[in-house]
């Protein structure tokens, strides 16, 4: 059996990219075996083509109820990563629509995820700035502050666009 590590560069704001990529790989007969620690490297084994829906979910401290509801509904947990990321999969036939975890965009979920994402961003941003202030010289501080602000600005906009898409 041939096994390969393939890479999919997905981010929190575009989980659909990973979901569609994995579904396409399964259709081509590349079955997911494991996800590596980076969350972007995927161990795939050549086997039978399968029709499987993949869904990324974000749940911080889910209760046992979360797992039982999803497993009862035929979902299998393929991977769970740092900070609450979960990857679920479920086989389906040609005669039924692709299953999804969420059938309704509930404003409260969107708001909660937005709040969580925003909190994480600002924590990282201030950690970066504090680190620079403590360890960097004035010139290094000024230039790196600008670069970090640009990077975080970019991430912030991409996340904002993702939540706008969810909302719509």
């Amino acid at each position: 059996m041939v096994e390969r590590t393939m890479w999919c560069w997905w981010w929190g704001w575009n989980p659909e990219k990973l979901e569609n990529w994995l579904e396409e790989k399964e259709r081509q007969g590349w079955n997911l075996v494991a996800v590596n620690m980076s969350s972007v490297g995927f161990r795939l084994k050549q086997g039978e083509p399968r029709q499987i829906s993949y869904c990324v979910d974000y749940q911080v401290n889910p209760t046992p109820e979360y797992y039982s509801i999803l497993v009862d509904d035929g979902w299998e947990l393929a991977w769970s990563g740092y900070g609450g990321w979960h990857l679920w999969r479920k086989p389906y036939s040609n005669h039924e629509p692709r299953p999804f975890l969420y059938t309704e965009n509930q404003p409260i979920i969107i708001r909660t995820r937005w709040d969580q994402g925003l909190t994480a961003f600002f924590m990282l941003f201030f950690l970066g700035i504090s680190g620079l202030a403590v360890f960097g010289s004035e010139i290094v501080f000024a230039s790196l502050f600008g670069i970090i602000s640009l990077i975080f600005g970019y991430f912030f906009i991409r996340f904002y666009q993702y939540f706008q898409r969810l909302r719509n």
């Binding site: 109820e65 509801i69 999803l70 969420y102 509930q106």
Partner: protein
């Protein structure tokens, strides 16, 4: 949460919330609710498992539903008095919508 705030939050109700509360007139667990809703709506409404979990968690937090027991690590829920009041308010709103619609159609628009 005050009754006023709860009404603002849940009414008008989403189809998911409406059918979940309706299903919990009888004690049921998450997957049991999903199956019941599918049956009741002739497979038209199939609530996603993620949507089911998040809606149940929210309703439990707002005390619209209460866990009555646990079987095989699955919580069995039932509608609370507060949930029932909210459901009745929504049914009365829907009834008015229906009557207005019917009245306008029959009377000619």
């Amino acid at each position: 949460m005050s009754e006023h705030k709860l009404r603002n939050k849940y009414i008008p109700m989403t189809e998911t919330a409406y059918y979940i509360l309706l299903s919990l007139m009888q004690p049921r667990h998450g997957y049991g609710i999903k199956q019941h809703v599918r049956e009741l709506t002739g497979k038209r409404l199939d609530i996603g498992a993620g949507t089911m979990y998040s809606t149940l968690s929210r309703m439990e937090k707002d005390r619209l539903i209460i866990p009555v027991k646990e079987e095989n690590r699955r919580k069995i829920y039932q509608i609370s008095d507060k949930g029932r009041e909210l459901l009745e308010a929504e049914i009365s709103r829907l009834k008015k919508l229906y009557e207005h619609g019917l009245g306008q159609l029959e009377g000619g628009i």
